[in-house]
Symmetry: C3
Subunit: 417 residues, 3 copies
């Protein structure tokens, strides 16, 4: 991996710099959106990064490769979106809004990263990021410019897209050797607390995510709808988490993930004319769907459909993203509304949802086929979910391997990780 | 707990959604307060949540139930404050300011949570949140509308209120079995560092907390007074922490908590006409009081008065909150000033302080009596301060219990936790 | 240390309060810069604090003494900068911009703290903070008022200054006993993840750091240049980290630190007329320099030049800071530009760089000589990099010392820390 990764990364970075030199320039523009950008920025790097640190031996990769994907992807996202939206061949203008969109584009790759977490190497993740952001930009262009649909919080274009793209990739990369639960695919006490840092920063700044590029006079409404959707979703998640456990105990997996489904699901409708209680209903349904998905659907997908979804992105981003799209179909069907001078219709929203799922599945399958090529080097099943395959890890981590035939040492190791 | 908790939570959430449907609507309004809201939001969920993760085996509950209380409480806070302030029966308008107030209202329950931390179950905490926010909204209405006192940073109405409410609850819930220090009531090396995440985000955003709903031309002054009060308080806390230790060592408990007392104490006066050095004096006195409280008062309260205050909220919120109220009495007595066209007086401030303490103690005692009912299920003394009573906890945590008659395993356990 | 530390800290705090009473007053002014202040504030307390928690046994000191230095230093920084800039003897006016500058001034001491981390006591750190901020304020005055140079992101006046000041101090405090790697000078798995909290918040808010005091119509450009410089730097760092490792593995030290070099290096030029790809080139070069510095230069400095730089601040702040200065010389030499009505020239920039390095080295050497006085109490080599010298540490940490002649216990200890 030494030369493959570094040469590909250096090469692509040089290409990015050259493309920026040729096609990109500073825009004039104010900083009024900067506070929204910063929140999205925190969500991408801290939120997604720490959310995935829940695995006991995979924290370096979760937070580190998350950073790599995002730093790499935001450059490519700037270029791709710039090329598609720039009009008749002028230069790509950079302003705070384009930075928000660049960060947004990386979210798709980070969601897909959650689906394949622990099973791919950094070279594969660079390629996935490059390919997925390309597909995302095309779909986003179709949805907004061709179908003229609305998706202000990107329930469809980011969340559903990232989830189904990632699910298609992980299906193609199916590993029969991981059919039985891998010993490393577990959390530890402190890794679960690290993950809550990610959960909370995502939860807290989701109102900014959904309202960042909303029209100025829609922002307050968008913020409020997201805030109450998330609040209702969190309470529902706690209730169902206890209800579905035999002893009534809460599950950290559900609290870390399903509490966020309300932010995903309300995204498409957040700036439409809906009352706060409607947002709360959407959030509640999202919580129910997400909890049920984690509890009943993920195991079935893994065992029957060969879809190994490490973080359960289908339940956090996939199903709630579709719910967001469906909600927008219902809302636009029942009350006429215009955005940016364009009449919204249920048909446009349905087209957007269909395009998103279709391009995501197709793009993900193609990407999975490319990532499967032996040239990139596949991590062995045994070394899955283990940072030490790609990182220098402090000594403590290596002790057990040396003494792995020693029960005492082994149990200590498990306790520490 | 399985059905009790989930049914109560689901039921109350459904009631909230219905009440929102009947009584709540979007307000028009701009987003100028949104940056302040976000800081308060971070303080509530990250600040309070992580501050309480200091216990070695109670991190899931601290950060998780903190989230539940806040997500649940902000909905009830919106309704209660809306009903009381809405004038003659119109709908409750939602805007950024009402979101700030909703978050504020949850702070009271989170402060009380600190007093009973480790000794109550999630059902009890839902009830406490519901009852305390009701009492808070009544007192806040009295203080601002009837007594017409000022309390911009809520030293009295949030901090002192939450502390004395919680102390009254914990007094009623007194557990003689915890008279001797519980083995779980300790921090670990990493849990103390997790707690510093909470401390620092509280410390950093306290200027926003105090200035969030200040008049626009008072905001800079309020921010600056809070900033320097906290800075002075932090230095004083480090100095006294070392001075009071026989070997001159710092105590994490003090650094995590007493450094924040300056933010609490300067709250009421932060937007009044005081010089920066006065804010620094208030912060310094708050630091002194808080350190002395932790060192000398908390042990006495526990042993003599049967008040078991897990996090020492009396020293962080109670005493500094009273100090804030007294400071406002002195300031308004010595220089006449008006806010929102109303003449401030020492008498109004004293009434506010008295009302706050009185309603908090009474409300807390009643709430404690309700929480004591056997129907809610009390956690046994032995299972106090232990997440595994209410959470699925990763395997490592259970090892020692299995092997608890084995010294070697036991010492390992202590070392890890 | 008990009385020395507490008396000095209390005394200086009292002096600060008196000086504030005599010389400081509230300014009128708006809160438009407050969002920038908050980001800088997070960088100072969370960013720097957690970045240094990477050591396995030194997390309390890293995040705690970081807080002490910053809370203490911001008061002295307010006074020093106020005295130098206030004009003809009026009072020092406090506004949001002066708070930003106060936070900025503490950054120099925190950078130097990184150089001496683990080897000094809290008394020494108070003195270092006091002396360094004094020297910083003088140099900052020279650079901006006398040489009339530009340094909007403070590549020179903060980063290079803090680094070379700290290197001079650590040279004077050279400990031959630490020539061989100290057993405590290592990270643990979780301490490395804690450190990533610091890295990411620094990385995320660096655009605010560089643009906080920029002219309003330069802010967007400054933000964008910093954003893309950091993105390019991060990708380059990952690539080189893998390339330089024999097995192609990433190094946490490099990811935690060198990814930030792009923010440092682009600082001086970020508000000048440069295209985005130029910012990316500066960021890329900074990443290269920083990685090479960590890999090859730091060991040489320690072994040959007796400069023991614990955190490698030379590679993160020193070299990239000089790069920033040189870049500004090149940019101002190749295209004429004015800031605040003053013509920028290569000569002015070069003078600023020279002054900064000179005053830093001289001030650091003098400070080192003062800190070396036996009166302050030096920590023994053996107790270096160990919190328990200055903090009450939870029991777990002490076990190994009791049983240090027992191999089994000892290995457990290493595993846990």
């Amino acid at each position: 991996m030494r030369f493959k990764f570094s040469i590909i990364a250096l090469l692509l970075e040089v290409v990015f710099i050259i493309l920026f030199g040729l096609f990109v320039e500073h825009d004039t523009g104010n900083t009024s959106l900067y506070p929204y950008f910063k929140d999205v920025h925190v969500m991408i790097f801290i939120g997604f990064g720490f959310l995935m640190t829940f695995l006991k031996k995979y924290g370096f990769t979760s937070v580190g490769i998350n950073m790599l994907i995002a730093a790499f992807g935001l450059q490519w996202g700037t270029l791709m979106q710039g090329f598609l939206h720039r009009g008749e061949g002028g230069k790509i203008p950079l302003n705070i809004k384009s930075m928000i969109n660049a960060d947004f584009s990386t979210a798709t790759a980070l969601i897909s990263f959650g689906a394949v977490l622990g099973k791919t190497n950094p070279v594969q993740m660079l390629l996935l990021t490059f390919l997925e952001i390309t597909a995302f930009a095309v779909n986003e262009y179709l949805v907004t410019e061709i179908f003229q649909a609305t998706d202000i919080g990107a329930s469809m274009t980011i969340h559903a897209f990232g989830a189904y793209f990632g699910l298609a990739v992980t299906l193609i990369l199916y590993r029969p050797g991981l059919k039985n639960k891998h010993a490393n695919e577990e959390s530890s006490y402190h890794s679960d607390i690290f993950a809550m840092i990610g959960t909370l920063f995502l939860w807290l700044f989701w109102p900014s995510f959904n309202s960042a590029i909303a029209a100025e006079n829609d922002q307050t409404k968008t913020i409020i709808n997201t805030y109450y959707s998330l609040a209702a979703c969190a309470v529902i998640t706690f209730a169902l988490s206890s209800l579905l456990d035999q002893r009534g105990k809460f599950s950290m997996v559900l609290i870390q993930n399903a509490t966020l489904a309300g932010g995903v699901a309300v995204g498409t409708c957040a700036d439409l004319t809906i009352d706060p209680f409607v947002a709360m209903c959407i959030g509640s349904i999202a919580g129910i769907i997400s909890v049920l998905g984690f509890r009943f659907l993920t195991p079935v997908l893994a065992s029957k459909l060969k879809i190994q979804d490490t973080c359960g992105v289908h339940n956090l981003h996939g199903l709630p993203g579709i719910l967001g799209g469906i909600a927008s179909i219902v809302v636009t069907a029942t009350q006429p509304e215009t955005k940016k001078g364009i009449q919204l219709t249920a048909g446009k929203q349905a087209s957007a949802l269909g395009s998103t799922i279709g391009i995501a599945l197709l793009g993900g399958a193609l990407t999975g086929a490319i990532l499967r090529l032996p040239i990139w080097g596949q991590v062995s099943d045994q070394n899955c979910f283990d940072d030490s395959a790609y990182w220098e890890v402090p000594e403590e981590e290596k002790l057990p391997e040396i003494n792995s035939n020693n029960y005492d040492e082994h149990s200590r190791f498990e306790a520490i990780m």
